[in-house]
């Protein structure tokens, strides 16, 4: 099985747990090492969190399509939604002073994790359709 599609018509964060289960199955069927599977799971979950939190603003509504593909030497995860587009395309930074408790970040960790783990990420927003394309070499 080289490609799997998952569609959620509504719902919220609970869908990230369901999608992670499908990803784990997909990786196991394609003999992906468990260390790589764990990293892919982080990226899939964080990308979906961002869709539900930012694109759909915690409304519990909204279509999300996920496509998992096995490429020659990589795994591609593509996630599309019809929500609000990302306002910034700058690379995520996560810098904080551990002594400065008051100013610790509470957001931005997801994108930072994705960009740290994935070999390639590309975000597009065309005709109200946002798509995040993530590639991890294996």
């Amino acid at each position: 099985m080289n490609e799997v599609c998952i569609t959620f018509q509504s719902g919220g964060y609970e869908n990230t747990d369901k999608a992670a289960l499908v990803l784990r199955q997909f990786c196991s069927e394609n003999n992906i090492l468990s260390a790589e599977t764990d990293k892919l799971e982080i990226c899939l979950v964080e990308a979906l969190n961002n869709v539900y939190e930012h694109s759909y603003e915690n409304s519990g509504e909204g279509n999300v399509e996920i496509k998992l593909s096995l490429l020659e030497r990589a795994i591609r995860i593509e996630i599309s939604d019809n929500g609000k587009a990302r306002s910034s395309l700058k690379p995520a930074v996560l810098e904080f002073d551990p002594e400065d408790i008051e100013n610790l970040p509470e957001g931005g960790m997801g994108l930072y994790l994705i960009e740290s783990i994935m070999d390639e990420t590309r975000y597009t927003s065309i005709n109200n359709r946002n798509t995040l394309n993530m590639i991890k070499n294996i």
Partner: protein, 106 residues
């Protein structure tokens, strides 16, 4: 199966009873923790031995709680598996919280 370990003096123990500490369970814990902190609890040991996976929503529960706890706040996160330890290291939140692997209760 929960592991037994000593809770340091002055600390309260909270067990995170979710196999996936993610967006689907994080909000509930965030509210509970806010209540505890507003009642004066500042030093908390979190038992994550039942947690298999944590995401940024789960991590943000600890972050928002330590902010509310302020300067007196001290959190120890124990019973973490290798994957969870990796997330704390990747986000460098292990500089804020004492993170202890499963089986290490010292």
């Amino acid at each position: 199966m929960s592991e037994k370990f000593a809770v340091p003096a002055g600390f309260s123990l909270i067990t995170i009873d979710a196999s996936r500490f993610t967006g689907s369970s994080a909000h509930e814990y965030k509210i509970k923790l806010e209540e505890l902190i507003s009642c004066g609890y500042r030093k908390i040991i979190f038992d994550l031995s039942r947690v298999e996976y944590i995401d940024s929503m789960g991590l943000s529960v600890f972050l928002s709680a330590i902010k509310s706890a302020g300067e007196d706040g001290e959190f120890i996160i124990t019973g973490v598996n290798a994957g969870i330890a990796r997330i704390f290291a990747l986000t460098r939140l292990d500089r804020i919280f004492k993170v202890k692997p499963a089986g290490n209760h010292n």
